[in-house]
């Protein structure tokens, strides 16, 4: 099941009619525990309404003492559950929520770190460089051939490489440490400095794919002559270190890149997709 179709569980902490407010410290502890388990929590107070959302289940927590509020607007396929939390501590409240999450088949949180490119369409010029560049199929185009991030969970955690090839600083990773990649305002100096957009190919002394091809050919020739695995490994490590330092790309991402032949195949595929989209946009 994809990220966008998975059912979710929303938690409502209900302090209204028939459910007296929690003590201040208990409320804060419960909220914190639920958030740390990845839940979205709505705090509803007296006079508020409890309404389910469209895709998944709703768990209403309160000190009900046997009486539960009415749930309004329940849609088909939505489950609403009530849980009396009188006397429960924060850890047990979070456990109950997790149990309901399991029972209802709702998506579990924390199994995927939400790291993916967020495109600033005010800046994006639809140049398709990101689509050409990404080897992991994160990018695609919509029906109007507009670039979009489509497969968020294909993105390599902590890798901001595509944002560095974007000529307009239009790609953000909100969890990145520094601006403008983290969403901070783009400084004029960011645009002036070529350094912001690391030209990864230049780190390898030219076109990255051509370099990889040459390295592959050279490696094959060398291996056929002397099978110097150690030297080849040293060379690869040197190259990867250079990439990791220059582009702030995690070493584990680079170490897990596929073989050069597979990189070439994927690069050709991505390039073809980008060219097709650009051609369609020119028509």
């Amino acid at each position: 099941m994809s990220l966008t179709t998975a059912a979710t569980l929303r938690v409502v902490l209900y302090e209204g009619t028939d459910s007296p407010p929690l003590a201040s410290t208990d409320r804060f502890s419960a909220l914190t525990a639920l958030l740390e388990k990845g839940f979205a929590v709505t705090r509803a107070v007296a006079g508020g309404r409890v309404a389910p959302h469209e895709r998944g289940s709703l768990l209403v927590l309160g000190q009900f003492a046997g009486r539960t509020p009415e749930a309004e607007g329940v849609t088909a396929g939505t489950t609403v559950r009530f849980q009396d939390i009188t006397g429960l501590d924060a850890a047990r409240i979070a456990q109950r929520a997790e149990a309901v999450q399991t029972e209802t088949g709702a998506a579990r949180h924390g199994e995927w770190k939400p790291w993916f490119p967020v495109i600033d369409y005010d800046r994006c010029t639809n140049c398709m460089q990101c689509l050409s560049f990404c080897l992991f199929g994160v990018y695609g185009v919509d029906e109007q051939n507009k670039i979009q991030a489509q497969n968020h969970d294909n993105c390599k955690t902590n890798c901001p490489a595509c944002s560095r090839v974007c000529p307009e600083a239009a790609i953000m990773f909100p969890k990145y440490k520094a601006g403008p990649i983290n969403g901070d305002v783009v400084q004029d100096s960011d645009m002036g400095k070529e350094k912001m957009k690391i030209d990864i190919s230049s780190l390898l002394g030219g076109d990255v794919y051509s370099q990889l091809r040459q390295r592959s050919d050279a490696a094959k020739a060398r291996f056929s002559k002397e099978r110097d695995d150690k030297k080849a490994l040293q060379e690869r490590q040197k190259c990867l270190t250079k990439l990791a330092q220059g582009g702030d790309i995690p070493m584990e991402v680079l170490m897990n890149l596929p073989a050069p032949e597979e990189i070439l195949r994927r690069a050709e595929e991505a390039k073809a997709k980008a060219q097709a989209a650009l051609a369609a946009n020119r028509q």
């Binding site: 998975a6 914190t32 949180h109 983290n182």
Partner: protein, 130 residues
């Protein structure tokens, strides 16, 4: 009384980029405030999931969001197919603002709309409230 702005708080659970003491202080203040609010573990995750609750929030009138950079929040909502209203959305940035600044803005009853419009650079970006 006109509609009070709704409040969304992001706990940024899956990264360590928001100072924990700021998150904790803002959440505590919200928890003690007596107002209704939505708290999400991680806005990025909800955006990736295109969670329908973001659409409901974006379509529901004035809103104040305690999260991170306004530019990031604007496009996270867009990614979720839930564009925020330009004139009635205010984003408080817990990465750079203090808990006191964020809380003062959350509870002042006014919306100082600050989503970036167009290709903003440092010279014309809205300033964070003092």
């Amino acid at each position: 009384m006109p509609d009070a702005p709704r409040i969304l708080y992001c706990h940024c659970q899956y990264a360590q980029v928001v100072p924990p003491e700021v998150k904790e202080a803002v959440l505590k203040k919200l928890s003690d405030s007596g107002v209704a609010f939505d708290a999400v573990a991680d806005l990025c995750e909800m955006s990736a999931r295109q969670d329908p609750s973001l659409k409901r929030l974006a379509d529901g009138g004035p809103v104040k969001i305690a999260a991170c950079f306004p530019r990031a929040v604007k496009w996270l909502f867009h990614t979720a197919k839930a564009d925020l209203p330009f004139d009635t959305a205010e984003v408080l940035n817990m990465r750079v603002q203090s808990a006191e600044e964020v809380c003062a803005a959350l509870f002042n009853g006014e919306v100082n709309a600050n989503l970036p419009k167009g290709k903003v650079t440092a010279t014309d970006a809205p300033k964070a409230p003092a």
